[in-house]
Every structure is written in C-alpha cells, then in structure tokens.
C-alpha cells in the first residue's frame, strides 16, 4: 500500500544530531458565532478522526458542584429532542415531573442527613428510616421512570454512530478541558456534523439520576477500589491549598449525590457556548466540503454575548513542608511534589528537560537509585503543567529491605546535584534528540494528532504544536540549574510516604513489642533520622542516650528500641564511634 503524502510538509534537515521540527499546517476556520474549526486533511487511510473540545473542566467548578463537568460529559450521550426518544413532548413533561418529585425526595433526605450529621443514625440511606411520605415519593419516582422508559430509545446516539462504522467514540474530562471524539469512515463526515451539532443545539438531559449512579461506580472503580487511588486523591487535596486542582475531576461523593439537573444545565449554558468550543478534523476529507458542513451545522449554534467565567482562585504560596503517611496495599514508596509552573510558562521548557534528564533507562534516577545505590526498584520524575498551575513530582518504590525514607533522601541528593552542577552537554543533547524524534512520532496517528490539537487549543492554542519545539530546543544547562534552584525548596514541597498495610508495614521486627502510640513515635523519629547528616545523627544519638536514663519504666522498651536504631543508623552513615 503506497500511501500518498499528507500535508504535514516536514522539512528534514540532516544536521549532525538533530532533525528540524515539522510544520503542521492546519487550516483554522472561525464561524460567525465564534466557534473555531481546525482542518487538517491527510489522505490515505479512508477515515477521519473527529473531535471537539469545550474549554471547561473541574477547575471551573466550585465546592458543592464538584464533579459537574464530568457528570455533564456523561449527560451529553443521553440524547436530544430528536435522538433517544419516541415522543419528545411527553418525554420533557416526564422529566419535569421527575425533577419535581426528586426535589421533594431531597427535602425528605435533608432530615435524614441532619440526623446522620448529629450522630443520631448510622446510615442516612437505610430504607427502614424513611418516612411514609418519603417511601411514597420514591414509589412515585419509580412509576414515572417506568413511564419514561417506554419513551426512551436507549443509547440511541452511540447506536447510530456504531451502526455507520464510527469507532472509538467516547469523551474525557480533565481539570482544564472536556474532549468529545470519534473516528468516522471518510464517507460519514456529515453524520458527525449532524450528531455533534445536534447535541450542542438540542440537548436533553434524560436519565440524569441513574447516570449519577454510573459516575459513582466510576469513582469506586478508579479511586476507591484501587490500591492507592483514594490515597492519591487525599494527597492532591493536601498538596493544593486554595487552588481548584485540589478536588478530583470525578467530584466528591457528597456533591455527586446532590447535584441537580438545573445545576448541570446552567453549567452547560455558561461553558458550552460556541465561543468556548473548538472542533478538529484530521484525516481523509475535502476541506472545502468540511468548511461548508461546519457552517451549515455548527453555524446553527447561538452565539453567546458573555465570555465564560474563568477560575479566579490561585494557589497560595506554600510556607512549610507538608507530609502524609499512608498504609496501603502497595510496595513501600514515596512521592515528592513541588509547586512549579503552568503549561506555557517560560520556566516550563527547562523543567520538562530537567525531568527528562532524570527519567528513562539511561536517566539519572534509574542509574543512581536503581542500579548504583540499589535503594529503589523504580524511580521517575517530571513536570506537569496544567492551565492555571503546575507541579513537579518525583517518585520511587523502595527496594526490599530499604525504606521509602531512604528513597526520599536519594531523590533529594539528585535534586541537590542539579542545583549545584551543570548537566553534561551530552545529556542535554540526548534529550533534544529524543524530543525531535518524539515530535515526529506524535504525528503518526490521526487520532492522536486530533487529540493533541484540541488539548493544545484548550491551553494556549493549537499553534503551539509548531512553536513549542523551538523553545525546548533552546534550553541550556544554565536554565536547568536555575529552575532547580527556583522551585526545589523544602518549604515548597509535599511528601507522601506509603507503607504496606499488613504486618510488614514496619520493616523493623523490633517494633513488635511496642504499643501503637510508641510505634508511631519511633517511626517519626526514624523519619527524622533519615534526613540527618552524620554529625546531626551523632548529636541526636547523644540526646537519646541521655533521655533513656530519664524515661519512666513503662516506656523503657521503646527507648531501648530507639537507641538500637540510632546506633544502626550511625553505622550506616559511617559515623559510629
């Protein structure tokens, strides 16, 4: 199969080490109503990767409606006044009735929630606690639902797509954006325009309450029932103080329980107006036909006269180190996070390059922590820039017999090296070579390219696909050292330590005879010790020995364990007497 050339127009210069970046020539169409459409024809494979982005995600929410952006994404598959129903008038009437009954049920639930808050009952959802009125309302709700079932054509939207050979149809919500995507056969492009413009123009949020249950299950699957999901969520909330990145995209359970259909609707009106939307097509299509279809279909959307509100609350500067200790079904490990910069900040390219210097099989972390020191089985680090904030995280899993605290110290040593010594020219060139190659690799799949254009569009505009590579290529060793010194400071970080929950959570068998409070104290001191220099350790050992003489008899066993550990650490640090 000899494929025809696409329109990427890549200019390959055979320089000694680096190849020149490609130019992705996208045609940008602005409709009268403010919607942007990006066109990138690429003949060959007779398919079109098609998608659109709404520049809204969970950071546009507020407490009380966390999770609404994601819940809303689910609702966009529930049909319109044409799709998904046998009789739209009756359907709308039933939806209004259901909302009314739901409001009455909510009033009943308020009493139970209050009783639960005051500790009078254990379970606010216990059916036995419900009033007669509450039970009647629930029955009424079920009767209405059953009536509506008769009108609904289930999953009509996805069925129409898949019956016409559309594949990979789905959507995704993140902190900053929501993307809806599908692959359509080249001859079905108009179907995409029809269905996507229809659900933006005439959405009907039916099955709202059962879809909320689905989102609950999604939360259970991704967060609650994975070994570290719920701890990572807590760590996010610990790391971000004032920023909306502190809550999970899927939302807090109590908010999911309470969000109403009206709240979802008003969210839609604010953020799904055409001036907040960009569509992208990549694949086998005729651009003049696509322009015409875009105007005919998306041109129907009503322009909005107000710009969508943007998140206002910025993260407060962190004043002191934060730490979290967790016991989970996982191997002992550590994650360290520093507040850094958002996507597109002038310091982002050096931070990204710094992460690349650390990562991979030939990166510094693997070489040092895994191969030379044998303290970790894996280690990684990297910059994540979101739209409004950013962070740099480092992580490592302790090798058997080593502690997460030791991995933490080893990670700090690597950071210290970056702060005080310039990276080698060959290291830097290696990263640049890899970036040049991965820029090409990122263009291979139409679907990946469509997705990349939309994400970039939600952040700083699609054109950064052409302008960013030069910024990364310009990073110097001095830039890397400068950002290491700017962001990697103890008061700017949060640290999560994970131990395995079970009997082996504390690797020290010596702690077995101690009670819980004593064990906790010894672990804390072990944490402290692991951050001490040899001299500090010697000082600490002297203090502990003095202390041992004074502790009350009931704490004697703890003191002895402590002294034993201190001596061991001194041997390890090469400072034992």
């Amino acid at each position: 199969m000899e494929r025809r050339f696409g329109s990427l127009g890549c200019a390959v210069l055979l320089l000694a080490t680096t190849v020149a970046a490609q130019e992705v020539s996208v045609e940008e169409v602005m409709l009268d109503n403010g919607m942007t459409v990006l066109l990138l024809p690429r003949p060959g494979d007779p398919n079109v990767a098609a998608g659109w982005v709404a520049k809204v995600g969970s950071v546009y929410e507020r407490p009380g409606i966390t999770g609404v952006a994601h819940l809303f994404e689910h609702m966009m598959f529930k049909g319109t006044s044409t799709i998904g129903t046998r009789n739209i008038e009756q359907d709308l009437q039933l939806i209004a009735q259901l909302d009314q009954v739901k409001a009455n049920i909510r009033a009943e639930e308020t009493d139970l929630l209050e009783a639960h808050r005051l500790g009078q009952i254990d379970d606010p959802n216990d059916p036995a606690r419900r009033s007669i009125r509450h039970r009647e309302l629930l029955e009424e709700f079920d009767v209405l639902l059953a009536e509506q079932e008769e009108l609904i054509i289930k999953e009509d939207f996805s069925r129409i797509y898949s019956g016409q050979g559309a594949s990979a149809m789905n959507a995704g919500t993140s902190y900053d954006y929501t993307i809806y995507f599908v692959n359509v056969p080249a001859n079905k492009l108009e179907l995409w325009f029809w269905l996507e413009s229809d659900r933006l123009l005439n959405p009907v949020f039916r099955e709202f309450y059962s879809e909320r249950d689905v989102v609950h299950e999604e939360r259970r699957m991704r967060t609650d029932s994975t070994p570290t999901g719920k701890f990572q969520e807590q760590f996010d909330a610990l790391f971000w103080q004032s920023s909306p990145y502190s809550w999970p995209v899927v939302g807090w359970p109590s908010d999911l329980e309470g969000i109403t259909r009206e709240e979802a609707l008003s969210f839609f009106e604010l953020y799904y107006a055409p001036n907040n939307l960009t569509a992208a097509l990549v694949g086998d299509f005729d651009p003049s036909e696509a322009r015409m279809l875009a105007e005919r279909y998306f041109g129907r959307l009503q322009a909005s006269d107000r710009p969508p509100p943007q998140p206002r609350t910025r993260e407060m500067p962190q004043l002191g180190e934060k730490r979290m200790t967790a016991y989970a079904d996982t191997n002992p490990q550590v994650e360290i996070r520093y507040h850094s910069v958002p996507d597109g900040h002038v310091d982002e390219p050096p931070l990204v390059v710094l992460g690349q210097i650390l990562n991979g099989r030939t990166g510094r972390l693997y070489r040092s922590l895994v191969e030379e020191q044998e303290v970790a089985t894996s280690a990684s680090g990297g910059q994540s820039g979101m739209k409004f904030e950013g962070m740099f995280s480092l992580a490592g899993v302790a090798k058997d017999g080593r502690t997460p605290e030791e991995v933490e110290q080893a990670l700090y040593s690597e950071i210290e090296r970056l702060k005080t010594q310039l990276i080698e020219p060959r290291e830097l060139q290696k990263v640049k070579n890899q970036n040049a190659a991965s820029n090409f690799r990122g263009l291979r799949s139409n679907f990946g390219l469509m997705n990349q254009l939309l994400v970039r569009e939600a952040w700083r505009g699609w054109a950064t696909i052409n302008t960013d590579p030069a910024l990364y290529d310009a990073v110097t060793a001095e830039d890397v050292m400068r950002v290491a010194n700017t962001y990697f400071n103890p008061e700017n970080r949060a640290v999560a330590i994970y131990y395995r929950q079970e009997s082996d959570e504390a690797p020290d068998a010596r702690l077995v005879g101690l009670d819980d409070a004593e064990q906790q104290q010894v672990r804390q001191m072990m944490n402290m010790m692991s951050q001490m220099s040899a001299d500090q350790l010697a000082q600490f050992a002297a203090q502990v020995e003095q202390m041992v003489a004074q502790v009350p008899p009931e704490n004697q066993d703890m003191a002895e364990v402590l002294i034993e550990i201190v001596r061991e650490r001194q041997v390890a640090a090469g400072s034992a007497r």
Binding site: C10, P127, S158, G165, N331, R444
Partner: protein, 499 residues
C-alpha cells in the same frame, strides 16, 4: 442479503454534487440522521501477497512503505514463547526476552548499548510472551544504518550482563509481593485458573524458587535454541525503500545458520471448567468485580462471524450492546459491563462476561447479566440490532490498515499463526451474510448458562448480604454449581492455603 457496504443511493448524491456545485449550500439539514445519504466508501484492502517477500534463506519479510514522516519501524516475530519454560524455571522465556535488550551484547556493555540507543532516540525492544517472541526497532530514517547495527547485535549476540540479570531477578521477585493488592489483578489470575486449570502454561505463575533457579547459561541456551532465521518473520514499515531494506536484511542475516530443529507446538489445556460460584474476599474495597465464563471456540471455526455478531449484540459492542445498556444505562449499576467470545489460535478461547458494581448491587447486576445471556439464546435479535452490528464490522474494516505499521503487523501475525490471508477478501461479505436466525442458533449452541463459572472478588460480607433496597437478589441463589471460596495465595510461592 444485500451488500451492506455498498450504498447505491450515494451515486446519485455524488452526481448531483458534480453537476450542480451550488446545490449543496442550499440543502437543508435532514430532520433525522437516518435521512442522510453517503458516498460510496471505496476501500480495497491491500493484500498480503503484494507486500510479502522471501529472502534467499527463506525468511519471510513484509514491507509497507509510507514516506510521510522520516520514521522507520522494524518488527520481528520469533517462534518461541513462555510455553517452552521448564516447569522448575517458569519465567525463563520472559527474562530471556527482556535481558536480550537490557543486558548489552558480547561486544558492548549494557550501559553503552542503552546510552547509544537513547542518544539516537531509537526505540529498541525485545520480549517473549506466551506463544511468540518479538523484537522491534523504531528510529529516524537518517539513523537507520547505525540503529540496525544495534538491533542485529542485540538479536545475534546478546551479552546477558550479570548485574542487569541480578537486578531483573530481584525486581521480578519484589513484584510478586503485589500479587494480592489489586482486585483487578486477582480477578484476572483466578478467572484464568478457573478456565484453564493450574497446570497449563498460561496459568503457571513464576515463583521465588523458579526465578532464583534461572541462570545466565539458561538464557544463553534458550536464545541459541530459538533465535535463528528459521524462526523469524519481519515486518518493516515507514520511510524505507523496499529493495534497499530487503538487501539490508539479506546482508545482516548472512552466515546466521537456519537450524531445522522444529519448535514444539503450543500445548492445549487438558482442563474442563467447573460451573459454580467462586468467591475471593478482599474486605477493604467497596466495589465487587465479577467475571462469568466458560470455554469458547477456535479461530478456524466456520461459525466465527456469526459468533462475532452475536457477542457484539450481547456485550462486545460497547455502549450500544445489551449488557451495558441494561446494567449501566437502565439500572446505573456499573460503569463498565461487557462480554467477549474468545476464538483461540491454538486451542479454544474463552467466553467471558464481566462488570464492576458496588458491593450491595453485585447480585442484582449478576442476575441481569444471566438474564441477558438467556435472552439472546431464546429470542431472535431485532433487525435493527443486527443491521447496526453488521454495519459496524463492515464499515470499520479499513481500520485494520490505518497505518503502514498496522498493515505490516497484521500480515506478519497471520503468517506467524498460519492463517490463510484470503479471509481478508471475504471478511465483509461473511459478516454481511449473518442473519438473526444465525445469531440465535450460535447463541444456543455456544452459550450455556449451566456451564458458567461465576467469579466474584470483593468485600464478601457486603456482597453476600445484598441490597437492602432489593433483598430478593441473592448471589448464592444464582449459581447452578457449588459455592467455593478461593483463598489468597502466598505471593512468593503461590501456594494456596487450605481452608
């Protein structure tokens, strides 16, 4: 049955567009998407024969050129697999595959090899899976020669560095510690054992003892035994010239003896799954994971197109399939619910349906899945469901060839598994010919609720207590076989405690 992927109406629409270019703008938007008309999708798949070459030593090479980006990809399939692991050295094949890449070569240290590859931004990999081995190279066109040097040095002269090997063994053993951590992992492992027994290679776990027993000499011998051109199939794609690539491979394989020692065939499992309810307790999660299944069929089964459509309607077809519609859209009981009907290459695959639901509603969701399995066996599917399913398979057929890499890979895989490529020519017609009566017939013949093993992993206390809102559903009442509790094994020995 008319041809589903031809749309005669489209020709008329096309003709109108050609004659009157201004007409399209004046068109109104149809009231419903079913009123849209489409041009004919004129897709003729590339054939295996036009990309297939044989080197002078008999090695088969597929080349698919694509010059849009300055990237080349070389994949190698090797006739080997972990089914060849000795019983006391489970893990040998997998370690050999990984250490070929990680352990340097006889003339280059592991660190130097890694550094060279990384500096060139070359992606070089090697691995051995259950029934095949493989290696791959991805690089920029300008670096092709030096990258091929590295790639073939790895294939021919792996160094199996002692330090890297010790590290890989210790990582493999430490990883065992995680075996009982995630319910997803536990579910996969135990469902495999329920379907295949515990003696088959596909369910034989490596243990601390089997990994510790493996030596560098074992890896060298394994490599020598299976890595030679007689066991190779290449798939090359991207920015290359076919003639150049063929002579390049010819030259690089020169002098590498083709051994005619046949590789043992893949063993079939000698096990019949036992129906029943199997329970694994994982108290600290609030969602249960459920898999139901029994044996499927083989890839050469003449009913496979009917089975494909049947399973698509039942649970394979994502959002529009019955399982997801009932369990998720109707009842809000799960985020995902699906089924697959396995057609194995070497022995029958597995029919599996599964979902995740909060502990209280596991029984109710299980009842719905069983109901749907029963329904597709007793009622013919609706004409619209059938039409949509056929439309999906016919219209997504071209996705198999969406890139030069996927095209070359598909052909190479079929060559490796001995599949006659003519199935690609008749695929769309075979799918389009499936009728509602066919679907009913294969559902009755291939699905058997009485044979289902039902596996549940989660907080058993909450799961067995059921839903106070709907107390009529009980998991224990749903199974037709025994109720068996499976304990968690000791992760390093994989010995299951006797209750």
């Amino acid at each position: 049955m008319r041809c589903r992927y031809c749309a005669p109406m489209a020709w008329i629409a096309l003709a109108v567009l050609l004659v009157a270019p201004g007409f399209a703008e004046a068109q109104t938007i149809p009231a419903h998407p079913t009123d849209l008309t489409y041009d004919l999708l004129d897709f003729t798949p590339p054939t295996s024969a036009e990309h297939r070459y044989e080197l002078s030593n008999g090695v088969v090479v597929f080349v698919v050129e694509d010059h849009e980006l300055p990237l080349v990809s070389v994949s190698l399939l090797v006739r080997t697999g972990s089914y060849l692991d000795p019983a006391d050295k489970v893990g040998l094949a997998s370690l050999t595959g990984g250490q070929m890449r990680a352990g340097g070569t006889t003339s280059m240290s592991a660190a130097d090899f890694d550094e060279q590859a990384a500096f060139l931004a070359a992606q070089i990999g090697s691995s051995i899976g259950g029934t095949s081995g493989g290696a791959n190279l991805g690089c920029l066109t300008k670096d092709l020669q030096v990258c091929l040097d590295l790639f073939f040095d790895m294939l021919r002269n792996p160094g199996f560095d002692a330090g890297r090997f010790a590290l890989a063994k210790s990582q493999s053993i430490q990883q065992m510690q995680r075996r009982n951590d995630a319910t997803r992992g536990i579910e996969g492992r135990e469902f495999g054992r329920l379907m295949r027994g515990s003696d088959h290679f596909s369910t034989s776990p490596r243990t601390r003892a089997t990994v510790e027993a493996i030596t560098r000499d074992d890896m060298r011998a394994f490599h020598r035994r299976y890595y030679h051109p007689g066991n190779f199939i290449f798939a090359v794609s991207g920015d290359v010239d076919t003639e150049m690539m063929l002579s390049e491979l010819e030259r690089r394989l020169d002098g590498w003896a083709v051994v005619s020692d046949p590789v043992p065939t893949v063993p079939k499992p000698a096990f019949t799954p036992e129906p029943g309810l199997y329970l694994v307790d994982k108290p600290d999660v609030n969602q249960g994971r459920v898999s139901l299944g029994h044996l499927g069929t083989t890839r050469d089964d003449p009913d496979r197109y009917k089975l494909l459509v049947m399973n698509d309607i039942l649970g394979g077809g994502g959002f529009s399939a019955r399982l997801l519609t009932r369990v998720r859209s109707d009842e809000g009981l799960a985020y995902s619910a699906s089924s697959s009907f396995g057609v194995g290459v070497y022995y029958p695959g597995v029919f599996q349906a599964g979902f995740q639901s909060r502990s209280e509603t596991v029984a109710r969701a299980t009842a719905i899945v069983l109901e749907e399995i029963e329904r597709i066996r007793t009622e013919p599917v609706q004409e619209e469901e059938l039409r949509n399913s056929i439309g999906y398979f016919v219209e997504t057929f071209s996705r198999n060839f969406s890139s030069a890499g996927s095209t070359a890979g598909l052909f190479a895989n079929d060559e490796y598994t001995g599949r006659d490529p003519s199935y690609l020519t008749s695929y769309r017609d075979n799918i389009a010919a499936v009728t509602a009566a066919d679907v009913l017939e294969v559902a009755q013949r291939y699905l058997d609720p009485r044979k289902l093993a039902i596996l549940v992993v989660g907080n058993l206390e909450a799961i067995l207590a059921g839903d106070p809102e709907q107390p009529e559903f009980s998991l224990e009442d749903l199974s037709l076989g025994a109720v068996v509790r499976i304990p968690l094994p000791e992760p390093f020995t994989m010995v299951y405690p006797v209750p």
